[in-house]
């Protein structure tokens, strides 16, 4: 089919747009925004058409590949997993680009902005399309670079520059783990395959997956524990995902990354970059499934992150920081969704990705609404807002829709509900199943507690921003149409997407690993990993089905009482005197522990010491060499007198002496 041959254009078009906008954007109207918008729209259309084709025939995935060098290839792989991500990323990115035309209208550096977001989109699409782990890693790093550039977009602000640096360095920790995982995997595969195979590409996903049983059989001795190589590799991969997706303990960069423009926050922190980690785990899910203990780690880290971030979300006063912690929390849910694959197998990828896509819609909407408020009012601080709904009705309505989706309001057992309801509740119910099945109840507890807090913090945000009386003297007006139209489109998706696609979506994704590219028996892999899959899903008790929506409503009630009715004076509770509030407001002293003690104190101290050593030792050698060279040059340059006659004399003398020398050598010796 001709359409499949266009698949490579999906990342290439935005990359071309980057070049054009970067170099010629200044001469175009509104910073050349039209080029990225058109190219991403084209990418979106191609992705959508391919996805529709795939929906009709999920066995026939798009898979193309050209040799790169040795055992590596460059390739395109669009299976259900990639197709869903591609369509979502290009769609959300397209809406954000349209929105940014209005949002960035007053910024002088528009060409740079649009060029960078375009490159970012290209990198993300390339990451999703990759059919081998190296190509994925390259795009992964490119995404990291773009996030650095975009977070530090207003680099003249010291806080933005610092946030960009922090984001880059923190994710670098994860990236190093990811790279280490790839190296371990490659050496193992080379050992197992006995060298570079002819005609095959060792690091293509289908090759990797076909070696899973042998990999699982390899054992390493780690601190006296026998550990499967597959567990090491998957945990290292998960380390990369932890860095990129802002999981505990590498989540510290994400709240600070709000220093960038709000559109960047929406693009990076809702739809694309942070989901790359989840995507990585989903992409290599068969490996995780066959690796003992890996999925448990994923489930626990995800569950803990969901709760941990939510607790901080309820005390933040900066509208964007609340959303940042909310993002971390929701990413925790996605990881938890993957982790419970220990009990439900392939279905885990379905529910996790379902939440990922729904989250992309409603979180992008939340960020864009926040951006709309900030754009109109000019402050981030919710304590200075209040009553904005009167000035900006469209923004208020769409943001409320997003909040309902985030809190997961809906009626269990029917298909009535917001997008977040279907996906988040599916994860929570799977966590229950996981707890019931394996006895690990902790992730379920985390997820229920986090659901309560999610509802509290998001309605706190809504009430503090949109209701009541203005707490400061702000002007403000409703945003232009280029901003409100994307809001409305996203709001529709946030409300109804989940309900409409619920069952089809999950079935579609379950086909990811059984098609003409890879065909895996996931049940057999789970046995390798020592997980017992639930064979027949017994219906959960009704109470369990209703519990998430119940806690969400309780959370809504708490927020309503505290922040709308203001029934309780919060002055005492929310002050530095309350130790819990102080702990949360200071974000568990993470800054003091991670940044000041660990990073600056230990790491920087050690590095500085060695740097000084290098200065003294190596530099002295280098400098002495340079001194000798320069001195020799000074002395020898006197030979160049510039007088032609001298040169002639030297040439003649040289030739004469040379002839004498040759004569001597041939005659005498």
């Amino acid at each position: 089919m001709a359409l499949e041959n266009l698949a490579f254009l999906i990342p290439v078009l935005p990359a071309l747009a980057f070049v054009i906008t970067f170099f010629f954007g200044k001469k175009m109207p509104s910073g050349g925004a039209i080029i990225p918008i058109l190219s991403i729209a084209a990418s979106f259309i191609i992705s959508l058409l391919i996805t529709l084709g795939l929906l009709a025939n999920p066995e026939e995935v798009v898979s193309q590949s050209i040799p790169w060098f040795a055992m590596l290839n460059l390739g395109v792989l669009i299976d259900p997993l990639a197709a869903v991500m591609l369509t979502m990323v290009s769609f959300v990115s397209l809406l954000i680009h349209i929105y940014a035309v209005g949002y960035m209208a007053h910024d002088p550096a528009k060409p740079r902005y649009f060029a960078e977001t375009s490159l970012f989109t290209a990198a993300m699409l390339a990451l999703i399309l990759s059919d081998n782990i190296v190509q994925l890693f390259v795009s992964w790093e490119l995404v990291g670079l773009c996030s650095y550039l975009l977070i530090g977009f207003w680099f003249e602000k010291p806080s933005a520059a610092a946030a960009a640096k922090k984001a880059f360095l923190t994710t670098r920790v994860g990236d190093v783990m990811f790279l280490t995982g790839i190296i371990v995997l490659t050496t193992d595969l080379l050992k197992l395959a006995g060298g570079i195979p002819e005609g095959g590409y060792l690091l293509r996903f289908n090759e990797i997956f076909s070696y899973i049983p042998q990999l699982a059989a390899l054992e390493a001795n780690l601190f006296g524990l026998k550990v499967s190589h597959l567990t090491i590799i998957t945990l290292l991969f998960f380390g990369g995902a932890v860095g990129k997706s802002g999981q505990f303990p590498l989540h510290v960069w994400l709240p600070d990354a709000m220093e960038g423009p709000t559109t960047v926050s929406a693009l990076i922190h809702a739809a694309t970059m942070v989901t790359a980690g989840v995507y990585l785990v989903a992409r290599t899910f068969p490996m995780f499934l066959a690796a003992p203990d890996s999925l448990l780690v994923v489930a626990y880290v995800g569950g803990f992150t969901a709760l941990f971030a939510a607790t901080m979300g309820i005390v933040m006063n900066d509208i964007k920081r609340v959303l940042a912690f909310s993002t971390i929390s929701q990413l925790g849910y996605m990881m938890l969704g993957l982790g419970v694959g220990a009990a439900i197998g392939m279905e885990a990828v379905g529910i996790s990705l379902f939440h990922l896509v729904n989250h992309a819609f409603f979180k992008a909407l939340l960020f864009l609404c926040a951006g709309s408020v900030i754009h109109a009012v000019g402050t981030h601080d919710m304590r200075e807002l209040g009553g904005v709904a009167k000035v900006m009705p469209i923004t208020a309505i769409t943001m409320t829709a997003a909040a309902l989706a985030l809190a997961g309001i809906g009626i269990p057992g029917t298909s009535i509900g917001t997008s977040g309801f279907f996906s988040k509740d599916a994860i929570i119910e799977s966590a229950y199943l996981f707890g019931e099945h394996s006895g690990n109840w902790l992730p379920y507890g985390f997820s229920i507690a986090a659901a309560l807090l999610t509802s509290v913090y998001i309605f706190r945000l809504i009430f503090m921003t949109f209701t009541g009386k203005p707490r400061s003297n702000y002007g403000g007006h409703e945003s232009p149409a280029s901003m409100t139209v994307p809001l409305a489109i996203l709001a529709v998706f946030a409300l109804v997407f989940g309900g409409l696609t619920q069952t089809g979506f999950m079935q579609f994704l379950e086909e990811t690993f059984s098609n003409n590219f890879v065909n895996l028996d996931l049940g057999r892999l789970a046995v390798l990993g020592g997980y017992e899959l639930v064979q027949s899903a017994s219906a959960e008790p009704t109470f369990i089905l209703w519990l998430p929506i119940l806690v969400a409503l309780i959370g809504f009630g708490i927020s309503f009482v505290l922040y709308y009715l203001k029934a309780v004076d919060l002055g005492v509770l929310a002050s530095e005197k309350n130790p819990i509030y102080k702990l949360l407001y200071r974000r568990y002293y993470q800054h003091e522990i991670f940044t000041e003690f660990f990073s600056i104190g230990i790491v920087y101290g050690v590095v500085a010491f060695f740097a000084q050593l290098v200065d003294v030792l190596i530099d002295s050698i280098v400098e002495s060499i340079s001194i000798v060279t320069v001195a020799a040059g000074e002395a020898l340059k006197r030979l160049q007198t510039g007088v032609v006659q001298t040169y002639a004399a030297v040439v003649v003398a040289g030739v004469s002496l040379l002839i004498i020398l040759i004569k001597l050598i041939t005659e005498v010796l």
Binding site: A649, V652, A653, V655, S656, L657, I659, I660, K663
Partner: protein
């Protein structure tokens, strides 16, 4: 100035010595007796024949070289003021 003269002289003598050694140390393969034709001692005719037969191409090329030299010399000697 004196040292420069001495150095130049020394180098010239050295070169001459090298050349002289080469010249007088080689046994040149020459004709035993110079041909002599007392009726017509001139060989201009022979040279003319050679130039216009065997060496006609180099001769024509030389004419081009001379023409180029002429143009170049005039151009450079004319200088700025006449432009």
């Amino acid at each position: 100035m004196q040292t420069k003269k001495l150095a130049a002289f020394g180098i010239a003598v050295l070169f001459l010595a090298v050349l002289g050694l080469g010249i007088f140390g080689t046994s040149w393969n020459t004709v035993s007796e110079l041909p002599e034709n007392f009726e017509d001692p001139s060989n201009v005719e022979g040279i003319g024949m050679l130039i216009f037969t065997h060496y006609v191409v180099p001769f024509e090329v030389l004419s081009l070289v001379l023409l180029a030299t002429l143009i170049g010399a005039i151009y450079m000697a004319k200088g700025e003021e006449s432009k």
